[in-house]
């Protein structure tokens, strides 16, 4: 019996030593090493980028010569290097070590050395990948809608929040709990998840408004608006929400690089007061032209929006181009100023959409495409930035030959996220980019996933990526209950002499009902 114990003890010690040896001696002995003077091809492309110190590990796959062993060393100026040795090219970085390395090396370079042992037994060392760790953090959470890349139909969709400091994703609401209806246009006031809204469509339709712990369902459709609220924009103090009201249509191309065109047959702007539950508008923002895609300046004094002239009958859909306008607004007095053109489509030669102003108020980021505003289906859509001090604007270097379609700022203005279809032209993915004080954007990188091959088979779009500063705190049950409750009908401002049915003088119509998108 004692002999058995001794043998067992011996085996345990030997196994322990072998385990320790295999774990501790990460760095393999490099014999016959060949140097490559190029950086290795990796997927996703996490090379030559600036990364936030609080981002989740950027796991990747080495897309180089097939090897038998892969060795990766990630290091920076301070702290211990992370070493990974693998039999396959999929490199998964330990979260804790990564976090420590990044926090200890803010504003320093991050180096990634990649070695591949070939089938012949020789090692190849690639040129070191050099990335930069930024000083400033990115907002820790990203909210987006996941939906299949269909056009008119859907079955499953949901609005999700992802902790981008790790890989944890959680649904905010899925349409399984909303009678399978469409849900869209989630929006936050100044990256604050406690002031949020999104729309639920269909038979239980309404706008779900979350404000400082109170959840409401609103029916923003009135007798004087052509639809319920569509594209929203919270003002900075969270009391006002500007909405566009739109009659949206779509057409499919028979050939060529574009598949579909989504366009408005009419649109106007309205303003909803979350405290008085009143919807108002002005003849200045509800004209016979098309007004849509509102956004507020960070001081809340200006409402920026896109506007296009109402086209002639039998016009070509691809002739509609939107300009960027703004109007001042005094919330205390409920007074509108004069409309100013910030960037005319004639001057730009392109159509402007999705204006978003940096938190410091200096830069205006927007999309431009050859026509219309629904950029997700427009491969030529790119992101531009305008310096509001000088009025100069330029295309950002982060653009690709596929659609860049939506963007939002982090709370500190040093980062932005945008949707891009650059990976396959089909599914929009969220990309992050560092934006410095001088208005320069740095090479963008895709949101990291635990499995770096994730995007190769994930057949869903990430719509409307919005950065928020904190986790989502509203329970899904409360949301579910609210969605299934009756909506509170908003009142239309009686003092307004215009309706938002494309600028006509307000005439009350009987039993007209509301048009829903």
């Amino acid at each position: 019996m004692r002999k058995t114990y001794i043998i067992l003890l011996f085996l345990v010690i030997v196994s322990g030593l072998l385990f320790y040896y295999s774990v501790s001696s990460k760095c393999p002995s490099f014999k016959n090493i060949a140097e490559h003077d190029t950086i290795p091809a990796i997927f996703p492309d996490y090379t030559l980028i600036v990364i936030p110190p609080n981002i989740a590990p950027l796991n990747f796959i080495i897309k180089e010569e097939i090897g038998v062993t892969y060795y990766v060393k990630i290091h920076s100026k301070n702290g211990k290097a992370i070493e990974i040795i693998n039999k396959n090219p999929c490199i998964k970085i330990p979260v804790q070590k990564w976090r420590k390395l990044l926090y200890n090396n803010r504003d320093e370079h991050l180096y990634v050395d990649v070695y591949v042992k070939t089938l012949k037994g020789t090692w190849i060392r690639y040129k070191t990948i050099t990335n930069k760790i930024a000083e400033e953090e990115i907002d820790g959470y990203l909210v987006y809608r996941l939906i299949n890349p269909g056009y008119r139909l859907w079955e499953k969709m949901g609005i999700y929040i992802r902790n981008i400091q790790n890989y944890h994703e959680k649904p905010i609401m899925v349409n399984n709990l909303a009678n399978k209806n469409c849900m869209n246009c989630h929006s936050f006031s100044q990256n604050n998840p406690n002031r949020a809204l999104f729309h639920v469509r269909g038979n239980i339709g309404g706008t779900i408004l979350v404000k400082d712990g109170i959840i409401k369902k609103l029916n923003t459709g009135t007798d004087y608006t052509m639809s319920a609220g569509v594209y929203p924009a919270w003002n900075p103090d969270g009391t006002l929400i500007a909405f566009s009201v739109n009659i949206i249509s779509q057409e499919f191309y028979s050939a060529g690089s574009k598949s579909i065109k989504v366009f408005d047959k009419a649109s106007d702007l309205v303003l909803y007061n979350t405290e008085s539950n009143v919807l108002t508008t002005s003849p200045k923002i509800s004209t016979k032209k098309y007004e849509t895609m509102p956004t507020w300046s960070p001081d809340g004094k200006y409402l920026y929006y896109c506007s296009a002239p109402r086209p002639e009958a039998n016009h070509a859909i691809d002739s509609i181009k939107y300009s960027l306008l703004r109007i001042s607004y005094d919330a205390q007095q409920n007074e509108w100023g004069e409309v100013e053109t910030i960037l005319s489509s004639e001057k730009a030669g392109l159509s402007v959409s999705w204006p978003r102003i940096s938190p410091d108020g200096r830069f205006l980021m927007f999309c431009m495409s050859d026509y219309g505003y629904f950029t997700i289906y427009t491969p030529g859509s790119d992101i531009y930035v305008m310096d509001l001090k000088t009025g100069e604007y330029s295309s950002l270097s982060i653009n690709s030959d596929q659609a860049e379609s939506y963007h939002s700022w982090s709370g500190n203005g040093r980062w932005f996220v945008f949707s891009s279809k650059r990976l396959n032209g089909l599914c929009a993915r969220p990309y992050f980019s560092y934006f410095d004080k001088d208005g320069k954007a740095y090479k963008a990188f895709i949101m990291p996933q635990k499995d770096p091959a994730f995007y190769e088979t994930f057949l869903k779009n990430y719509n409307i990526p919005e950065l928020v500063t904190a986790p989502w705190s509203v329970s899904k049950w409360d949301l579910y209950s609210t969605i299934h409750n009756e909506a509170t009908k908003v009142a239309f401002d009686k003092s307004v002499v215009i309706d938002a049915l494309s600028g006509a003088t307000r005439i009350k119509t009987q039993n007209k009902g509301n048009v829903k998108n």
Partner: protein, 616 residues
Amino acid sequence: MPVNNGKVTRFFFLAISIYFIFFFLSVLLIINPEQSYFIQQPMFLFDKYFLFGYLKYPGGLIEYFSLFLSQFYFYRLTGASIITVTALAVLLFTYKILKYFNFDRFTLLLPLAPVTALLYLHSFSNGILTTSLVLLFTLVFFFYFLHLSEKTTYVRFIGYLVSSSVLFYLAGGGGFLLFQVLCLCSECLRFNKKRSYPVILIILLSSLIPYLAARYLFYITLEQSYLYILIPEGYYRPKFVLYILYIYYPLLILFSTIKPKENKVTEANKITGVTSCIIQVVIAGMVTFLSFGSSLRSEDTFISKIKYLAYKGRWDKILEVTQKRHSKDRVVNFNNNRALYFTDRLPYDLFRHLNFWGQHALFLGGHAGGSLLMDNSELYFDLGHIRAARQWAYEAQTIFENSPRVLKMLAITNVIEGDYKAADMMLNILDKSVIYKKWARYYLNGIRDTTVFQSDSLIQEKRGMMPSDIYFMDGKNVEVDLLALLKKNPKNKMAFEFLMAYLMLSDKIEKLDLADEIFYLKQLEYKEIPETYQEALMIYLARKGLNNYDLGGYEISQIIVNGYTDYTVILGIYNMNLQAAEKELYTKYGLSYWYYLNYISPMINDREFQKKMFEQ
């Protein structure tokens, strides 16, 4: 086994064996798992994210397991084996449960009844394996719970709590509900004041499990949490027999309390035992035959068969079965029209078949939903309108997320369009399926080395057919699509014949100029103008008021000219009263285009048509 009696036992096993041989052969030869595969499109991916998707709700795991098994329906023999083995396992556990309750009467009939119900459920091509697996797992859990009956109250208490929670997560609310009711029945039957109260209490309290799960854990509704598999979900519609099956087991347990009189085994009893077995076999056989027969005769089964035959390209067979059985279903009408084209009969026999749906059974666009989306996509693919085929397939993908039929269409259409990155994504998904790996690898290889596609006749053929004109497709004016196809390739026979059929069915024949029609007829080397086209030409000429016209060497036969004159004369006799003239016109011209226009065309005659179309 009813009595410990060799003869009866042998007969029992013989009867069971014969029953299951019949069961297996019925599934193999009549139900045809390949057809079920086509209708259900089960896709199983060896991928952790695919698994994660099924861990997000109670019942997901059993769906996952069911998909793993039902992907092998792709092969008829393995499909039949899987269904038979599942049914056999259900029989075994039903028998064991009965035995546990010392119930020894109707021991053949009672365990066979649920098997018959399963055969009925599987006889519909959309009868998913999940329903059988939920039942099987529930019986297994219940059987092992029964074995705790001799244990202490504490063990049974914990045993129930754990097993019901696990079963709820594994098999969802439907299985859990049945398990709960069965356990409650069992406890009540063996009621013991000291031992039963805590267990009954926990059984009753466990009703909260689905509530708590829906409230705090999963993103599902209360209905989905409590009644998974028993309520409609997406395109799944539970059959009434499923509810009977769920009620059957609790009744069986309660029924088992009725004890027979004790009898000694005598020679007379042996004979009675055998007779009883024979009667039970006869009853089981008759019930099976009747239920199976009724499902095979159902319209659902017929439609599934037509869809399957169309997918397999067995066009002659479609025409054969639709000749024998007339159906007013839109999909049947649609596939019948396709079959006419593929057997070169469309220009000749279009009005020899019932065209209740008119042009809406030629194209399914506009109001297409559900599986019609893919039918429409495949039609456009055949026509060579790849962009439209892809658009409909993308719409289908939103509903049938992992359907191999959809993903294959998206992969191939993107390859043809040259959108290799999008195709790559579909192919990467298909590459994770054991069934489609080889198919996907061929195209993946082609994407890496596009010279492979240069020698691929299908890809080259379709690329040569795709319209190059850029216009907006609205799904309503289909003639625009067809004319664009003909502009690209005037020898696109399918586009021409579908254009003619569409214009005739929708009463828009004057939308194609006579000169163009003649041009295409010549391009496609028609020796003479097909009869139906001649009939349509008579209408065309009358409407345009053309007396002098050039048919480019073709002729309208005198029979057609005389027929048209006669048709109008008959109408004139009845003062253009269509109702009065119907009988006579039907007798003489019931299979003509003229008769279709006046009496069959849905747009002209049937005011209820739009309503019916939306209902479908």
